[in-house]
């Protein structure tokens, strides 16, 4: 068996075998095959090779098993794979997730004010001065969980030398305007927030405890 010198025609034989040639090209190959014994013989070799390869035992597979094993794309939501609701914590997460955003905003505001007050107190304890407070009020936590707001000192009092006036906490006007029922409701919600830090404030070496300084004790 010799090779046909028409390389272009020989290159088309595998596609001819698979029936993937455009119709016009297939007609050309048909005509060539009628006249060229070498290409006809080569096509028969390819057919035979394909028949032999068709006899190979193909491994069995189960499409459903393969699909079940596929890694799911990130961020995709499928009917059988919906993400669990977002949980804030392992316990009580569902309860917290149902809270209204207003409560979270209130908690954030209280935290912000508290941190501001603590920052001022820390600064003052380090400086050891009686510099006037630059904030109108700070929030403290007193035993029993009742939240109150210390009034502005107006620069006349220092946590380092508390006076009776400083020890007497008075309600912030916006809180004082609440009636008993509203106050109870507010306190109940604040208690439910569990926003009180779990850790005790650390003592500063050579200084006083932050909370103690802040409370003037």
């Amino acid at each position: 068996m010799t090779d046909c010198p028409n390389v272009e025609m020989r290159e088309r034989l595998p596609e001819y075998l698979h029936g993937t040639l455009p119709e016009s090209v297939r007609v050309e190959v048909d005509a060539h095959l009628e006249a060229c014994r070498d290409c006809a013989a080569e096509l028969e070799v390819l057919r035979q090779a394909r028949r032999v390869l068709d006899a190979v035992r193909v491994p069995r597979f189960d499409a459903a098993t393969i699909v079940a094993a596929l890694p799911r794309p990130a961020g995709a939501v499928t009917a059988g794979d919906r993400p669990a609701p977002l949980r804030v914590a392992a316990s009580g997460g569902a309860r917290r997730a149902r809270r209204s955003p207003t409560l979270f905003r209130l908690a954030a505001a209280i935290s912000f004010i508290s941190l501001g007050g603590i920052s001022v107190a820390v600064a003052r304890s380090y400086l050891g001065t009686s510099a006037p407070l630059s904030v109108d009020s700070v929030v403290t936590t007193r035993p029993g969980g009742l939240t109150a707001v210390a009034p502005s000192t107006g620069g006349t009092e220092s946590p380092a030398s508390p006076t009776g006036a400083a020890r007497t906490l008075s309600m912030h006007p916006s809180v004082g305007a609440l009636d008993d029922a509203d106050l109870e409701l507010l306190l109940g919600e604040l208690d439910a927030l569990e926003a009180v830090p779990l850790a005790e404030p650390e003592s500063i070496p050579g200084g006083r405890a932050v909370a103690g300084s802040f409370l003037g004790s």
Partner: protein, 184 residues
């Protein structure tokens, strides 16, 4: 296999991939049903009779695990064949290492190709089987992809990891050797 009248069965691979990324489980099923048979045939033709089913599944798991890297420069079928071939070669190397054999090289495996053993009855087919078994692994791979799967040289080059020109040379060398053996 799904029915031909199922929705999306005629959708192109790219569309089904996009639907799968969006969470459409059915799109993955269509892709697997479309491509698993040729992948399984190819795996078998490489001589991976042992754990062939596992290789087919691993091929899809790996492909879908790195779909982000699939740019569509080649067809999904070509990409799957590339992964399947790599898996078969990895397993073969691993098996050879376990047998304290030498590194896998062209020629070493010419007598190891047993995908067709005992499967062909007539003399002509047995002769063809012997002729293909004497090809180097790369020649045989290229020959199979061209004759059995109808791939273009470009696709073969992607699967085998060579150039289009080299794939063409491998094919014609393989064809010449097969013809010579058939007429010895």
């Amino acid at each position: 296999m799904g029915s031909d009248s199922s929705p999306g069965v005629e959708a192109p691979d790219e569309e089904l991939i996009a639907r799968w990324r969006a969470g459409d489980e059915r799109a993955a099923t269509l892709l697997v049903e479309r491509h698993a048979p040729p992948v399984a045939r190819y795996v078998a033709s490489l001589g991976a009779r042992e754990a062939g089913e596992e290789v087919v599944q691993d091929t899809f798991v790996r492909a879908f695990g790195s779909l982000e890297q699939f740019r569509g420069d080649s067809s999904l079928r070509t990409w799957l064949f590339t992964i399947a071939r790599r898996l078969v070669l990895d397993r073969r190397r691993s098996r050879r290492r376990q047998r304290d054999a030498v590194e896998l090289q062209d020629g070493d495996l010419s007598t190891e190709y047993d995908a067709l053993d005992g499967l062909v009855a007539d003399e002509a087919a047995r002769t063809m089987q012997a002729a293909m078994a004497h090809l180097t692994p790369t020649q045989r791979d290229v020959f199979i992809l061209r004759v059995n799967d109808g791939m273009s040289y470009k696709e073969i080059a992607d699967v085998v990891g060579t150039t289009e020109g080299a794939a063409r040379v491998h094919y014609h060398n393989a064809l010449r050797q097969v013809k010579e053996r058939l007429h010895d």
